[in-house]
Each structure stands twice: as C-alpha cells, then as structure tokens.
Symmetry: D2
Subunit: 359 residues, 4 copies
C-alpha cells in the first residue's frame, strides 16, 4: 500500500534502486495533450546522478520508455505506463550492508515492517524512486502550462548559507545557471564551496528548497481534509530526506500578530479581486486564491557519510560501516526537480478535482 | 470531495458552523472495543468555546450523540455515525459578512470555488468542524491505548514566548494545569499575559503546538507516498490556521551536517534495537522506528481582528468590516486537542494498514 | 470499511435498524443545485414500510432531516449530512434472536466476522439502511434531471409471473399505479395475488426488478476496472437480497451468435450516430453510447418466513425460530425505489468523473 | 481513471493491444511470499492466443517480466511492477479501422469520450489487457493457496450447449483436458464442434463461465457497499464481453419461494456451524460464510465477425467493414483463466481487508 498519489490524476510507482527497473503508471491523464517527451527526458536529466561535481558520481542515463497511453504523441486518456531501466546496479558495492542497519536510513524500519528487505542500495527507500515521480511531474507540467500554471523551485538554503529575501527577489531564469540550483549567484558559489568542503570531510549537509507556483486559478483545493496545502505538504514530505514543510509565512506566523499579517483584499486595476499582501502563500481556507503559491521544504543531510560509522546488525551486534558506493554530499540540487514534479502532480490533480465543484 | 481522511480507518465529517448540526461517520473502527463516551465528551470539552478567559466567549455545550456502531457500549465494526447539534447560532451577528470578504478568511475562496457560500460565521471553513475530528480522535485514542500508544500535545510557542527545550523536558501531566496548555508554568503565565494583551488590543497572535506520540510500534507507515510523516503532516496542515509542519529536528536539519545528526543504532538493555539519539523524530524512511514521534505545527494568528479592517465585497467595492461576534485571540489552546485528535486518527489508520504488511 | 460508494460523488451511510438513527453523508455534490426536499421525502415514502398491504406492516415515518450542505435550499459544495430517526424500534420483538442464527440472514456471518452483532432486527444488515441510499439517490436524480438523464425501475418478475416483453413495451407512467410497481396492470394483479398467497402461507417469494436509464450522455464509464456496467452491477448487487445482475441482453447473450446480436451503427435523422439495435444495453466497452441503458436485478425471496424454521445458535445447538415482527413477503415493491436510487448515485458519480476525460 | 482495482491489495494496469507493451503494478502484496514465476507464466499461457484451434490464431509469447517487488524470489511488501511486451503488432491489419466504428466494439464510445482513440486492434479496450490481470491473479492465487483458498472456473455454456448440473457434479481436474475448458467431456466435444461451426460461418458465439472458490474463510466482505459478491460481480463484469453475473442460485431465486431456498444452519460433525444447503452461494449479508462460493458470468459473442458488416465512420458515413486479423470465434476458453484471476484478486483483497475487522 501507499505507492499511489492523487485522486483523479493518480501516479503509482514501482521499483527498487538495484532491481531491474523502476517506473510507474499515470492514471487520469486527460486525453488530447501532445506530450513533449524530450522535455520529460530533460527533467529526468536534471535529477540524474553524475550531472555535476557536487552530486553523486554514479552514472545512470535514466532514459524513460513510455509504454502506453500516448498515440501519435498525444494522450489518449488511457493510463501511461513507463519504465526506466536500472543500468548501473553494481550491487557488489552494497554487500556489506546486507545485515547492517545504516544509521538514519530505512534499513531497520523496512526490515522490521516487512521481515525482508532488498538491501542493495536502499531498495525501495532509495531516492532513485523519485525518477518515476519526475516523469509524471514533467508530463503534468505540460498540461498545467496549457492552463497557464507555471512551477519552479530552487535551493534557498544549504547549511548556514541562507537566501534571506523571499522568492520575488530572485529570477527563476538564474536557477539553472549553477550546479546547486540557487538563483543568487553569490550564494550559489558559497553553497557549492560548502558542499565541496563537506564532501572532502566525508560529511553531508542539509538545506531548504523553496517552491513557487504561479498562475494557479482560484478555487483549487478540497476542504476539509484535502486542502491544497495539506496535499502539497504530504507530497513534499514524501520526498526522501524531507523533514518539514511550510507555506506562506509558515513558522514565521507563530511570532506574529494578526494585524501584521492579514492579507487585505483589494480590487486590482484589471478588476480582479486580489490581496494587497500575500502572507497566506496563495491559499486561504485550503483553496487557492489566485496569488502566487510559495512554500519551503526542509531536507536533512544525506545519512550516508563517507567515513566509518558505528551501528548494529539485525542481531543487534555492533558493526562498523564504511560506506562505499558513490553518494550525494547534499541532496538539495537534485531535490529541486523532484519538488517541482511533486508540485505539478498535486496541482494537476486538484485542477481536475475542481471540475466537479459546480453543476 | 475532500471530507474524508484515512484509508482503512476513515473519518468523514459534515456540517457548517451555523447550520443545524455538525457530525461525522467513522468507518473501519475495529469491532470489540468498549468505548468510554465520557472520555469522548471530555475531549470535546477541551476543544469547546468558552472554557477559559483566553478563548472565545461563545458558549456551546458541544454534546455528542452517537447514532450507530456501538452496541451495549462496544464497537460492532459497523460505521459510527454521530452528531453535535449547533445550539448557539446567533446568525444575526454575521449579517454584515454576507457580501464582504474577510481578510485571510476563506470567504473569497469558497465563493469563488463554489459560486455560493454559507456566510454565517465561516460556514464549512469554521474551526467548529474540528469538533467532529475530536470525537473520532477521542475514540481512536482509546483503541490506541489498548495497543500501548499514547498521544499528547501542548502549546510550545505563543508569539515571542517560546519553550526552548525539547519535549522530553516537560511533564505532560502539567499541560492541563493552565488555560494555554503549556507544560511550563512560567512560560504559560507569560503566554496568557500575552494573549490577554493582544485581546485588549483587538488583535490576535500565532504560535506553535508540539505533538508527541509514545509507544508506537515499529513498522507504521506506507512508503512511498503514504509515509507516516506525510500523513501526519497532511492531517496537521488540514487543521484550521495551520501553516507549517516539521518532525524530528525538522527545519533544524537544514543547517546541520550529517555527522551531527545521524541516529546510530544501539542494542538496548532489553535486547531491542534502538537509536542512541532521535533527531529523526521516530520515523525513518517513512516508517515508525519505535522511538518517540514528535512534531511541531505552526499556527497563524486568528484572522478576525476586533478592530476595523478594510477589504472588498463580492463586487470588488471597498468596505470596512468591524467584526462582531466572539472570537479567539489565539487559536493555540483549543488547537491542542485537535492536534491530538488528528494524530490519533492517523496513527490508528496506519496501525490497521500495517496489518497487511506480512503474509 | 465498505460503507462508502462513489469516487467523485460519494455516499457514506451509517446506522442499524434498531439503533438511534440511520443516515449518511454525501460528499462531492456539485454546488449550485436547488434541492427539492419534498421530492426527496417522496422517494423515501416509496421505500417506506407500511405503504401497502403487500409490504411489511411496520410503520416508520422515515422523515429525513438534512443537517448541512444546503444553504437557502441550494447545494453549497460542502458535504450533505442527513439523519432519519428510528421511531419504531420495538426491539423486544427480536429478543429470541439474540443467539439464534436465522437461516439465509447475515446473523452468522456478522457474528463470525466481528465477534459481536447488534441482533435487533438485522442491525446493520437490515434493509432499513437502504433508506439512506434513497435520500442520496433522490438528490442525485435531481442533479441528473438537469442534465437530461431520467431513471426508472419496475418489478418485472415475481415468482412465476414474468413480464415477457422488454422495457420499451411498458409505460413508466403506469409503474406507480399499483402496489407491486409493475407497469403492466394485468401482470401486476397476478403478482399481487401471488404475494398475498405466499403471505398467507407464511412464505416469501423472489423476483426481478428492471432498471432503465434514459438520456445518459455518451462517454460515461471509466475502463478498465470502473466500467459503467461494473459500477452499476456492484451497486445493484449491494442491495439487500440481490443475487444477480445483467445488462442489455445479459445472460441471453450466452445462447446467441454474434451475427444475431451486434448493434450496427447508423446515422440518425438528427445527424447523430446511433445504433440500429440496442442489445448492448447502452454501454459498449464499459462506456455509455447514448442509447438507453437497461438492466435487470434478481432478488431472492425474503429469508424471514412466518413459520417455524430450524437452525442453530451461536453454540451450534439446534433451535427452532418462530419469526415475530412484521416482514415483507416480497422485497420487490420496496426494492424498486432502491434500484433507482443506486442507479442515480452511480450515474452522477460517472457524470462527474467524466469531466476529467478531456483537457 | 478506473485502471485500478482493490483497496488494500490493488492492481493497476496499463497498455494497449498494439502499443509497446502492457503491464501493471501490484501494490499491497504482503511481504514474505515465495512467488513461483513459472506458475505465473503457466496462467498466462492458458490465456494466450494461439493455444488451440478454437481460439484466435495470433501468436504472442506473452512472457511476463517482473521488474520489482521480489527479492531473491520472495515478495518484499513493495510494489510489483511487471511488463509483457507486445510482439505481434502487425498494426497494418487494422488500417481500415482507423475511422470506422466496429459494431458492438468500443470504437465509438472511446472516440466519443476521449476525442481520440488508438484504433489499432481495440487499443485499450482489447482483451489483451487482461493478460496483466492474469499475472496479478496468478500471484494472488499463490498467496491464497497458503491460506487454503482454491479457485477454479470452467466453461458451462457455449451457445445452446449447457451443462445442466451444478458445479459439484464436475471434476475440476477435467477442465484442462479439452480446449474449451469444460469439465464434462461430452459437452466439451459438442461445444468445440459448435465453435468450429460458427468459425466456419464467419460468426461467433456466446456462453457462460462458472467460477468456484473453495476454502474461503468465514468473514470476508465489507458491507454495505463492498459486499463480497458486489466486488466479485464488479470484477467479473469488468472482463471484456461480460454481460451478466449471478451467484448462488442467482436469477433462479426469482421464481422461488423462501421456504424452498433458505439455507438452514446445522452443526457439522467437526463442530463447525455449516449450512445444510448452499443456495446462497457461500455469501450471506455480503460476507463469506465458509461454504463454497460459486457464481456464473455471461459472455456475449465476440463482436468481430469474419464477414462483411455495415456500420458508419466518424463522420456518420456508411462503410462496410470486412474484418481482417485473427479473432476468437468464442471468448469462453480464454475467459476461464481471466475469471479465475479476477476472483483471486478480489479474494486476496478482502482477505487482507478483513484483518482490520477486529481489535
């Protein structure tokens, strides 16, 4: 259970990091959309290992193969099945992990829950699974673009390097200009320096991704349990290593008075009702209000350190692990396209759900 | 859509603040549990308006009437329907809100989404709906208690008054000893002073609730999309006025190195595998690991100010609103039992879901 | 689990026959529909006990009380909660059934499954629960009527009295002209005679209800697992005492050659593509094709006989049951409005689901 | 939407008959089951085209490739993704069907619903999709076998050749001894003769499959909407060409009196409570009662005739279709393993659902 997301637009994923392949099925894709598969592959390439010096050196080409649901390049309304073969399995690298429970990984919990675990490189709990989400997200973005919805994300914190202004200060066009996907060139340089330093130290570092959704129509969200931000939060928290989610002013609201942070309505020059400020983050009462939706996702440092760590094996015996394999010193750069993908999947689902709100 | 939560254990709620009644249906409650309805009513009383000087002065007795699913006091496995009549409707108080869009409320978004809105006191978007969640949560807690799971929450921040230690420092037995539900007596006093001050100012104030789940068995959570923390996060974010969620070290991870915050496994004196530290917050890979689960939920200040605010009506014309009625200056004290209820609902659902993990 | 039906338009019911009340929650009702509550009550009256000499003599007024989701008579898009109080509980009538397992009832299976059973009159397994479905169905019909969809059902067989022509021969306006709800006056008279005879014999009798859906737009149904007829079939089979479902020629297809029963397409005088015949029953490939949808539902004889029957109690000891209480000698007349209600619930759900089929 | 079945054990399928591949994802498979993939392939071979003279002459090897969810041959609790490549696409055969709407096929309804259709051989509406169901069913059977549940089906009617005794008269060991999968050798011979005759005539013929489930534990089924027979019915009706479903005495109940067909409880020699007869078909009140579950599924004649048929194209213009390609003259022999597969999928889902019925 638990391998599907969405109600009307629904993604189901499968696959372990070192099995034959990963992939997924998209059900509920509306018919009649011409899908640009090169753009889908481009998103996969943004998530791919080996793309820069600050991410894992593993090399996987991550080529997606679409098996169904498109006819002559256009969605048919039938489910879109797709697979990405696992090329670079090298499971020998992981042999010593068969019995050991790596600290802050899912080894112990998977083994405890299921009584069995594919120990090769994390198995199902590996972030490799997110490639399937990126495929579905990339297709969703293309549908959303037809409706005027645009989504982007960027790295806004790595360790103690923090972007101090809000998203409106940064040009999304600059995000892809550096390996860490930070739109501020100077901060990006510092983040990269920091990541290289922790890598040299055999260590890892946490951070924050900021996500932005522009152009969402008013009315998306299904209170009281499927509020738009609840679904966005669940989707973001479901990304590997995510530990926190906030939208609008988020935790910043806790220290504020109402008079400081209410968003008064005004009539805009085009006649539309808008809010003068947007502390709410584009969602009120769980429903989009037409303003920009923005949110932040906290990521912990990658748990695999390139140094010896003490832990126990399945018998509870102490063992020392010396991680081999190739690992990310910082998950942030590769998390950015996953955050975008999950946002797109959620937004498309709610766009379609909203079609039933009126007679 | 969106008025149900849970997969195997599932709550559906209904009701507007000023309609005839609110209520819900619980489906999937296991048979054979003797339910203490007094304990259920006690939880409702903790959420009830008018319980102290720092919450809204509205008075509702909030008596729950269970209509089905119990036979001679014991659950029968059939759905539990229940209603709470709305006694104190005084809808005249809200007459001037018929056309105005209150800032940072759901008036505009509901009207835009549905083309119609029950304008009396928030209608469906009113926090009154959470009483139904408290009923289901209170029953869930009783089932969880049979399994050794204990849940509590407390106010850990109001405005600039912040508890600086983590949950282990505070005695849950002290939470109910003050009106703000903060286990630190001195901080509680300061929080109450602050709330009284903002109330005098016709203003409101935000804060944070910390939730703790003790005794959860290893193995709860359904990766990859229904990770335990994703579901907890969605449930918490679905509470009125919630704007952020983090678990374990949460956003605190962003500034840390992996070597500082990995939770090494050790063999405990009872032979069980435990973690030496618990930065993870009791969940690894989306599955409970047997340690305490702890999380924080950020709440914005209540949007209704007892002062004049400028906004627009449905035609976009400027109007000045002078809130009447009786409103909470701070949502925190009454949010505590709702946080507990939502945690209980989620935990019971995952406890039952986990029954299918093995052959 | 299992007390909800529908995906986008979703009904959840609760209640036992001899508990405090039965009721339900409708989630996903589109906003903006003026609901005629008198028409809803009228449907309930058609299902009500005591309405004629050939149904059970129990008297329940079955007044529905809507608690939410309507504002000034119009749907608001929020869930519609409703209750019907149980007035005529007389549970003393059922005292001797506490331990006995009535033959062909659900006593044994409920007790076995849940370990506990509300033995009063069938509890949750009582057909009384279908009153909640009739409420939801009656509201659904009103929405469907706005879209030009019309639904009716009638008794087409009681025992050996069988209507031999298909639905097109009968005037739906005649259905309500007799107590058995058969549009053929002569057959109706025979059916009523037969029912009165079996009643005098302390016996019961089975039959068939035919359902007809006219005006359904082309395109409803979600292959491959939620084909329109699969959902209709599941809904009909979920009615108490239903034992079979067929649509179009149904089991009649088994003996036929393809050349006899294919429905060739033709261009109608209005330019629309139609089928020259309609053996398919208005659904092809699981999707409505614009022709009339028609189907038949088989009902077994009521299991409660007004004579002594031998069975066992929970210990397996032989007991003789002499049914008291008041029971239907034939479920057919009261099943007709339930068949209509379930058809309406399914059709509205699929009408809304279909809104996502295109971009 | 609509491409998933099951709640706790859930299959999602994808794929068109002439796309790259078909396949599916199984979510909710309990961990710890050693899966015999040869047995899975054997079930696929039973459904495969070209297996005998009375089915379509198309040749597809239908080799399943499992991509995930098994580790060293054992289920891990993670989703099982699998694909079956489409080898024999020959889409040229179907070129003349691009614009024509084949009578009693899904061409018209798919095109109307989605505005686009993969016209090659039925696309998604092709029975080829059922191969994915057979994979999931074959795995489900293996899990069910561990619980003592055994499932089989057989052809009980082809045209006017009808098995007149009930399932208890026939040896399931004889089913696979002939090409039509009928356990009565003489009837099988007549059925095969009839199928060969209709094939020579360029025609097709309908029939009935009987399904039997032995060893199901008491307690499976989730009233009131997910009764076991409702779910079985929906699953069976979702098979291509299925037009009717009945269980136990089914439509045969309509002509009977209660006194003839109630199933009295008795204490069996092993102390268990059993029913003396089993008209109910092993399900009472929607829940299995421990007796054999048996049901019948009606199939229409294959709609593709090997003769000229008149129909219209998308513009409504009359066209004459002369089917090419290779088609089944009778769907029954190949429907048998699909009926078994769907029964297994449903039964496993309900077995797992039932784990939550008690505390």
């Amino acid at each position: 259970m638990g391998n599907s997301i969405g109600k009307v637009f629904r993604l189901t994923t499968f696959g372990e990091s070192h099995g034959a392949a990963i992939g997924g099925v998209i059900d509920g894709m509306p018919a009649g959309v011409a899908i640009d598969l090169d753009a889908v592959q481009h998103e996969l390439d943004r998530r791919r290992p080996g793309q820069s010096a600050i991410v894992t050196g593993r090399t996987e080409s991550d080529r997606v193969r679409v098996l169904s649901g498109l006819f002559e390049g256009v969605t048919t309304g039938t489910p879109i099945g797709f697979v990405i073969e696992n090329e670079n399995q090298r499971s020998g690298d992981y042999g010593n992990m068969r019995d050991a429970f790596r600290p802050s990984h899912a080894d112990f919990t998977y083994t405890s829950k299921y009584g069995i675990r594919d120990h090769r490189g994390g198995g199902r709990s590996s972030a490799r699974e997110t490639a399937a989400r990126v495929v579905a997200g990339a297709m969703s973005r293309q549908v959303l673009a037809l409706q005027g919805v645009d989504i982007y994300a960027y790295t806004s914190q790595v360790g103690n390097i923090v972007l101090d202004a809000d998203y409106r200060k940064y040009d999304p066009g600059c995000i892809e200009q550096n390996a860490v996907r930070c739109p501020d060139a100077e901060a990006a340089r510092q983040m990269i320096d920091l990541i290289e330093q922790v890598k040299r130290d055999g260590d890892t570092i946490g951070g924050v991704v900021t996500g932005v959704i522009k152009g969402a129509p008013v009315g998306l969200g299904e209170p009281v349990f499927d509020k738009l931000h609840s679904a966005l939060g669940a989707a973001m928290l479901g990304i590997n290593a995510a530990k926190g989610f906030e939208y609008g002013l988020g935790f910043g609201f806790a220290g504020r008075r109402g008079s400081e942070v209410i968003d008064c309505f005004v009539k805009a020059s085009d006649g539309k009702i808008r809010t003068a400020t947007n502390f709410s983050g584009g969602i009120q009462g769980g429903i989009s209000n037409g303003e920009d939706i923005y949110f932040r996702v906290a990521f912990k440092p990658v748990a695999t350190l390139l140094r010896e760590v003490e832990t126990v094996n399945a018998k509870g015996e102490p063992v020392v692990l010396a991680a081999r394999g190739r690992h990310d010193p910082c998950v942030l750069p590769r998390a950015v396209p996953v955050v975008e993908a999950m946002a797109a999947i959620v937004m498309l689902d709610f766009l379609l759900q909203n079609r039933s709100s009126h007679i």
